[in-house]
Amino acid sequence: MHQHHHGDALGWTLDPLLTVPLALALLIFAVGWSRLSKRASTPVRPTLFLCGWLVLALSLTSPLHEAGERSFTMHMVEHELIMLVATLLLAASGAGAILAWGLPRPLRHTLAGSWKSPLQKLWRRLTEPVTATVIQGAVMWVWHAPPLFDRALDSFGWHVAQHACFFLSSLLFWWAMLHPRGRASGYGVSAACLFATSLIGGALGALMSLSSSPWYADYAAMGMTGIGLDPVDDQRLAGLIMWIPGGAFHGIAAMVLFYKWLRYSEGGARALSAN
């Protein structure tokens, strides 16, 4: 575990590797928003974006991050906040346009030019619901392989890379879920993918919580982890959080999208409100 020791008070993590991109994103958003707000727009999307940004920034920089280096459970909470809450809010805000407007003009034009293709083509490929689901599932599983996870715990750079992978794959995932092409049938596929994700993530969490030995050397080396549990129980609790609340979150999201699907399936809402 780099530079931290037991008993130290938990502090903020303000490494420029984190703070600079976060601040930059916020700055671009603010500029874009000020430029765009002259044209009419509702405050819902920006609010969603700001909430998402806040959750992301807080989970990465607040003492939670350092707590995550002393307890796997806390680390799991951090990951779940990023992958379930922050990225969902960001994807729901659909703030791509605002962000684009926040960029300096030449950059915006270059991007707009390259956006047509092949970048757009790639984006469309990646946001196929099934593809996005597979990518997120694979990222989740691969990063939990002990050698990789241990590496992330040992080096800050790797840790940032891990979080970046989680962040990007789940952003992609939620984007694909929430913005399906072909509105009506799309939500049905999304709901199925969310159900599959609850099983994929749940399986990883279940394995973690049913394992009889700790998987990760750094946590295992602690006699007692930061939240007063031994490493095995700490890992079990982390697994349970991923498995049960995490699975429930995806399940509920599946139900919400399923309901939308059902509504779309009736041209008018007639049959639905017949009661």
Binding site: A184, S185, G188, F195, S198, L199, G202, S209, L210, L229, V232, D233, R236, L237, L240, W243, I244, P245, G247, A248, G251, A254, M255, F258, Y259, W261, L262, R263, Y264, S265, E266, G267, R270, A271, L272, A274, N275
Partner: protein
């Protein structure tokens, strides 16, 4: 594109011919159309034709009858067990025989009765409900029935030969492993599982495709009958859960037959791996049995209260969320196995959540009755019996969702009472109700109302007498699966009551059967829609003709038969000289394709025989995998080999 020119000429010729083809519509309707359709759709006569049939109604009927026979057989075993337990320290039945009895009873009821009967009812009624002429993949459907039949025959044949399994319907390793269950008993159980799971999976694929693709035009998902919704959820659940037991039982059988070590804890294996896999299937299994029954209840409540089911979207969401939740709850069968303590509260909370969708569904039914005009005919009585019984079973379910309480009650008669309340109260009562309800559609005659009412009250009261005392014997400390119990622990009276009750239940089942048989010959002739119901199965004659509908109906609302003014809108233009059904789009149900339906064929039957020989032989020699697979493969290829060059005279390829 690169077709040779003569094919293009052929195309034009075919296009001309297409105009001349006979199709249903204003020019061809009434008796003339019916005669043509009858000729096209009827199966070859004789025993071979009987074996070759792909008519979903025939297959569904066989499914239902076979499953009911297994119910009777499994029930008979239950009576034997109750006789043994009527008195303490009884010597009527030996320990070995008793262990076989409860294994056979559980396996028969779960695998050979409860799941297949629901599939059978669905296979019969779903295409009628959806307004189509056939299921998707009718040959697969036939194959599914034969696999089920052979699985059942294997198990009961073994029982007759005195090599019945004695390892419980859950077959926990290592008790079922090679070390502690030598002989063939456990192998028979595992292969019976293989048969039934192949059958259930095939039926599930048939049902999913039927429900998604063959609905009548206009029947959007939001207009689909709730029973179809229930079966869609159930079929998807089967698709996700059955592979778990398939994998688990294959691993068990390979441990037993070829010496793998999956469950052998002395060789790095793990006995609990079995339980995780088994309950990953076993928990959804409960809902696979229960959800179709909720579909029955919705159907009956709607018809007999003369009101569309209250809050339809809520009921649909409840069905789907129950289906999803069922996959997160398997560990609650394993509380006593030493799961990490940190997880107890999580498991408790998760297990309790499943009560929410169920409670909402019950509310919706009660609200429908409240807001409607309930008619207390026999099916409706069963629904009321269901609600009372199921609520008790649900409450005990919430109790045992709590880890501390479950650690006390787990594996006692309290659990036996709980799940019989849930399964008999929750699934068999609605099943008896729906059989009474659909009996006129299936047979063309009504069941006797008086006998039906007597039957309901005897089974309802007999059931309570049988299973309510079991709560008590469980609380008093009687564990499950014991062939006898000592005197002096206060267990005598509850057990005696249960035994008496069991015989009351048995007599009412006999009464139901008598009613069914007598009504077959003596019952009043049923009109097309005797109950004044709303879904499409009542828009055709009772019993339906082999082609189901002379014209494919069009649906414009969720309660079609209540909303049409005398005339049923239909589409025209399906062929009458070839078996053909209409495919519609998945969500909006707009007409999409005309799908040819395969003819009756012996190949599904032959394939199932080949596969059955393969599986049964593999119990005795691993080489069966080699010499069994080849005939099976040949049969399957023959099954799928297209008979002729079908240059469809058709318009555009898109």
């Amino acid at each position: 594109m690169n077709e040779p020119p003569e094919v293009r000429e052929e195309d034009e010729r075919l296009a001309k011919e297409r105009e001349k083809l006979a199709r249903d519509g204003p020019q061809l309707k009434g008796a003339k159309l019916e005669a043509r359709l009858e000729r096209t759709w009827h199966r070859p006569p004789g025993i071979l034709g009987w074996l070759a049939t792909v008519d979903h109604k025939e297959i569904g009927r066989r499914y239902i009858v076979t499953a009911l026979l297994f119910l009777a057989a499994g029930g008979f075993l239950a009576l034997l067990m109750r006789l043994q337990l009527a008195r303490p320290d009884s010597n009527l039945i030996s320990a070995q025989r008793y262990n076989e009895l409860f294994t056979m009873h559980g396996s028969t009821m779960m695998f050979l009765f409860a799941v297949p009967v629901m599939e059978g009812v669905a296979v019969y009624i779903i295409p009628l409900m959806l307004g189509t002429r056939s299921t998707a993949f009718p040959r697969l459907n036939a194959f599914s029935y034969y696999m089920y039949l052979f699985g059942g025959l294997l198990l009961w044949g073994a029982f007759a030969l005195n090599i019945a399994p004695d390892i419980g319907w859950f077959a926990y390793t290592p008790l079922s492993g090679p070390q502690f269950s030598p002989g063939k008993r456990a192998d028979i159980w595992a292969q019976m599982i293989t048969f039934t799971e192949i059958s259930a999976l095939a039926a599930a694929v048939v049902l999913v495709c039927t429900i998604l693709k063959t609905r009548a035009p206009g029947m959007t998902l939001a207009r689909m009958p709730l029973f179809a919704w229930a079966m869609l959820v159930v079929a998807v659940m089967i698709i996700f859960s059955m592979p778990a037991v398939a994998l688990a039982s294959s691993m068990l059988i390979s441990d037993r037959l070829v010496g793998t070590q999956f469950y052998n804890s002395w060789e790095h294996g793990d006995a609990l791996l079995w339980q995780h896999l088994f309950w990953f299937f076993g928990h959804p299994e409960v809902y696979i049995i229960f959800l179709p029954a909720t579909g029955f209840v919705s159907v009956i409540v709607e018809t007999f209260c003369r009101r569309p089911v209250f809050a339809y979207p809520v009921v649909v969401l409840a069905l789907v969320s129950t289906g999803i939740l069922a996959f997160g709850l398997w560990v609650h069968h394993m509380f006593a196995t030493g799961l990490p303590r940190v997880g107890y509260s999580f498991y408790t909370a998760a297990s309790m959540t499943v009560a929410i969708p169920t409670a909402l569904q019950i509310f919706c039914w009660l609200a429908t009755m409240w807001d409607g005009r309930p008619r207390l005919q026999v099916p409706m009585l069963y629904v009321i019996g269901f609600i009372i019984t199921f609520v008790i079973g649900g409450l005990t379910g919430v109790i045992i969702a709590s880890v501390p309480l479950d650690l006390q009650l787990h594996d006692t008669y309290f659990i036996v009472a709980h799940f019989h309340y849930v399964l008999i109260g929750g699934a068999v009562f609605p099943l008896l109700g729906i059989l009474t309800y659909w009996y006129p559609k299936i047979t063309g005659r009504m069941m006797s109302d008086t006998l039906g009412k007597i039957g309901f009250w005897t089974i309802f009261l007999g059931f309570q007498l049988t299973f309510f005392p079991m709560h008590l014997s469980g609380l008093l400390g009687m564990p499950r699966r014991v062939y006898t119990y000592p005197a002096g622990l206060g267990l005598e009276l509850p057990n005696l009551l249960s035994t008496i009750g069991a015989f009351v239940v048995a007599s009412s089942v006999v009464l139901f059967v008598i009613n069914g048989l007598v009504s077959l010959y003596r019952g009043a002739i049923a009109p097309a829609n005797p109950w004044g119901a709303t879904s499409l199965e009542w828009a055709t004659s009772s019993p339906p003709p082999v082609y189901n509908f002379a014209h494919v109906p069009v649906v414009e609302s969720r309660t079609p038969l209540w909303d049409i003014a005398g005339e049923l809108p239909v589409v025209t233009g399906l062929r009458v000289d070839e078996k053909e059904i209409l495919l519609t789009t998945v969500v909006a149900a707009t007409p999409d394709l005309r799908e040819p339906v395969p003819a009756a064929s012996l190949w599904p039957f032959i394939t199932s025989i080949a596969v059955a020989i393969f599986f049964i032989a593999s119990i005795f020699s691993p080489w069966a995998v080699v010499f069994g697979a080849i005939p099976s493969a040949i049969a399957i290829i023959a099954w799928f080999w297209p008979k002729e060059m079908k240059r469809e005279p058709e318009p555009v390829i898109t």
